[in-house]
Amino acid sequence: MSEFFASIGFLQEGPFAVPRWEALFEKGMDTLWQGAATTLLVASLGLALALVLGIVIGVMSASHWRIPRAFARGYVEFFQNTPLLIQVFMLYNALPLLFEGLFLPVVTIGILGVGMYHGAYIAEVVRAGIQSIGRGQLEAALSQGFGYVGAMRYIVVPQAMRIVLPPMTNQAVSLIKNTSVIAIIAGGDLMYAGDSFAGRFGHYGPTYVMVGLIYFLMCFPLAILARRLEERLRAD
């Protein structure tokens, strides 16, 4: 049987040759799992930051007050219209120049980078969600003696939540994928781990397939969840 396989050319040489797969499973998987752990760390803390920023800025941009609204608009427009990579580079290269010696660890840069970037997208989702609830609900709450914050907290946000959840889940998927940019600044994440293992031995084919598989396993469940939530919303 092994002679049979040995006679098949592309199994012995080329980017997906069997020896390359063997090397990956013997030497590479530890590196990849470590990278995957870093990716999960950056993604979960980044998502937490993105949610906080997104809710605060989303509420600001749906408010009556002009100054918070203008600030929120500026924030969203800046982060949605410039590449994440340049934001990461500003944290990586420009920040230490601005504040002398402020060298953030790359993992922190990753968390801040994806957190602020996806915070802008989540803010838009939150704003749309709040506006879809309609003035009547807010006015009714205010007339019943709720303050603005209380009306938001107890009346508007809980209703907006259902509308907001599916796109927010999609944002979580994008956020996980976008953590891969820190590979470009040697972030030690899954993409970086895969790239450095592949580069050392030239086993790009199998390594990238495995890296892709791990990203897929992280993202796919959330993507399915987003679709379920969407379908549930449409069914109502």
Binding site: T82, A94, L97, N178, Y215
Partner: protein
């Protein structure tokens, strides 16, 4: 004023070599992005149409492609196009972006078509409209209005994500800017370069999104007045 005009930042900003370098980078960025957008639109439409095929094999293949690709980072697809497919950097960036964006466009098209109630389609067919006529006059107009915002925001994403090509050494705007920044040593100069690059990306993307918002407003108004 003189002191300001002769500051290191002004010296840098009045040097034509800086703008020549950034201009070259911008051209490559736009080449990669526009090509990827056009190709993604073509393949995305084909994939979107395949998902409505009556042959289960075809719709399943398209569905699986979309499911797999949209759960992978673009950077991985760009690196794969470069290192595994062995394409030159500019093409690797273009193809990597196209592989990803086609899947997103296919989903957007499907979402847009699904948003038109089935009843409208059946009504059109029952009134003697052909397949193409029903598409053209009944299903597509409202569907396209729904598709425009996500498609435009995806195109802006392509322009932004083309900066990932720096990872494979394509001299697009981001990489060009980073290289130029490394030739200066005063902090304010380096920071200024990063601000300039951000502003270039910002201007292009902001113009596109503003334009798209206007078109969409026009289209939705037009539809409203026909109905009324």
């Amino acid at each position: 004023m003189d002191a300001f005009m002769s500051s290191p930042v002004m010296d840098m900003l009045t040097d034509s070599l800086l703008w020549l370098g950034l201009g070259r980078g911008l051209i490559l960025t736009l080449e990669v992005a526009v090509l990827a957008i056009v190709l993604s639109f073509v393949f995305g439409t084909i994939l979107g149409a395949m998902r409505y095929s009556r042959l289960p094999v075809i719709s399943h293949v398209a569905g699986m492609y979309v499911e797999i690709i949209r759960n992978l980072p673009v950077l991985l697809l760009i690196l794969t196009s470069y290192f595994v497919l062995g394409l030159p950097a500019m093409w690797a960036a273009t193809i990597g972006l196209t592989i990803y964006t086609s899947a997103i466009i296919a989903e957007v098209i499907r979402g847009g078509l699904n948003s038109v109630p089935k009843g409208q389609w059946e009504a059109a067919r029952s009134q003697g409209f052909s397949f193409l006529q029903s598409m053209r006059h009944v299903v597509l107009p409202p569907a396209v209005v729904k598709m425009i915002p996500p498609i435009v925001s995806q195109f802006i994403t392509v322009i932004k994500d083309s900066s990932f090509a720096m990872a494979i050494g394509a001299y697009e705007l981001m990489f060009k800017g980073t290289i130029l920044a490394a030739t200066f040593w005063k902090p304010e100069q380096i920071i200024t370069i990063y601000i300039v690059i951000s502003l270039i990306y910002f201007t292009i993307n902001f113009a596109i999104s503003t334009f798209a918002r206007r078109i969409q407003a026009k289209l939705s108004v037009g539809r409203g007045s026909i109905g009324a």
